[in-house]
Amino acid sequence: MMKDAFPRGGTAIVGTATFGIGEAPGFSNFDLAAHASIRALAAAGLRPRDVDGLFVVVMDEALAALNFADYLGIQPRFTDNCRSGGSSFQIQASIAALALAAGQCDVALIAYGSNQRSAAGKLVSSTSRPSPWETPYRPLRPISQYALAAARHMHQYGTTKEQLGEVALAARKWAQLNPEAFVRDELTLEQYLSARPISDPLNARDCCLVTDGAAAVVMVRADRARDLCARPAYLLGAAAETTHREMSSMADLTVTGVARAAQRAFAQAHIRPGDVDVVELYDAFTINTILFLEDMDFCPKGEGGRFICGGAIAPGGRLPVNTNGGGLSCVHPGMYGLFTMVEAARQIAGVCGQRQVPKVDIAIAQGNGGELSSEAVLVLGSEATL
């Protein structure tokens, strides 16, 4: 096998934006994505006409990148419409890094928008055929699939409901420091434990929000990054792993594709978990945070529940995780992956106000698609890490 030649530090995020987080009635998915895109480009002194690499996906339009090129009035020479679920954006960033490095494009725009809360009031699933092997049993897709993983983790490692609750509480505490977060009111362990049960062991407070929202990220080659951005977030590593589609095909429900993806991304970036200053994970459900921290080797497998206890990942804790409030308390418009990239880049840029973690040089932005099916890990670094 050829050596992994990912271009460490060869590209950087030079512009980010979010738009319409929470409720943004009256906009289409593409209106929202356009608002975020224009802002992200403007942050780098660019306009839509400068984009020649377009990376777009939305929940309910299979050919979204075509629609969005049309919307922006551009004719990109590199177009990608990745559909791996919520990890699409991390995978798009890795494709963009390779395309930029190979001169296939000069300015890459990754964009996403969703009006699911205003338009439907619930999770709008992507256009997948219902599984003949799962659907007859009526799992609440995707909640029950994550519940099965949580139940197995609790059985195998003694993880407790209170520990899942700590994840939700930490996310809420971060959200309270983020004016953009959709849910910022107080959440106590008692309130968490008495929330409406949905699919055991998960209750309503274990599940991500249903919101509107859009995000966009602009990437260029490193040699141009400092001209466009004061503090770019350089892409040091990017790796993904697909493990299954049917939940019954996931070999071990306590080990996700993050384990191998992170190993490869960290190796590309020449870093170890101890070097990481801030971690942005795809917390669609509380169990995700525990699984992904273990799989990234921040703690041994099975120790995640104990690792996050005592406010360890909350503001002021030993490892800042999901500093925007995450999918649990900030924003979750169907797919959340791009928002972890925006928050990681913002932490490196040092523009996070009250929730800013001091001196962020290395930030992780992870994406999760399907039901723990597709995992992708980006390692972003400040100029000091080059």
Binding site: P132, P139, L140, D200, E246
Partner: protein, 126 residues
């Protein structure tokens, strides 16, 4: 035992036809002896098309379980992943006991019922 080789094999259609006849059938590769689920036209990884249908023992163990909570008076129900004695894992439901009492590691036995005018594979405590 019935055997049907590709390309005549229609994996999903055949599985449910067998189930409708009261038979829970699994595919097995003649060469590797490995059982697979869900049904396919070729064995995963090897691509072998020497698959034959074999009657499953029906014996299994609960790998994981969840209770889907409903608004009363609609009853809650169970969703489980079952590890079959033959090796494969599948999604199903454990009937015959309260959904809350289904435990990981519980021994279960397959049963074919009809639900929504279709045959359905479920499990009961062994």
């Amino acid at each position: 035992m019935s055997s049907e080789l590709s390309p005549n094999l229609r994996p999903e259609e055949d599985f449910f036809r067998f189930l409708g006849e009261g038979r829970f059938m699994l595919q097995r590769s003649r060469e590797s002896g490995r059982f697979i689920f869900y049904p396919r036209v070729a064995e995963p990884l090897t691509g072998s098309t020497d698959l034959e249908w074999v009657e499953a023992s029906g014996r299994g163990t609960v790998y994981s379980t969840t209770v889907v909570r409903q608004k009363p008076p609609t009853p809650n129900y169970n969703v489980a992943l079952i590890d079959l004695e033959e090796g494969p894992r599948l999604m199903s439901r454990v009937d015959g006991v309260a959904p809350e009492t289904v435990r990981i590691g519980m021994s279960v036995k397959a049963k074919i019922i009809r639900e929504n005018e279709r045959p359905l594979l479920v499990f009961e405590p062994a």
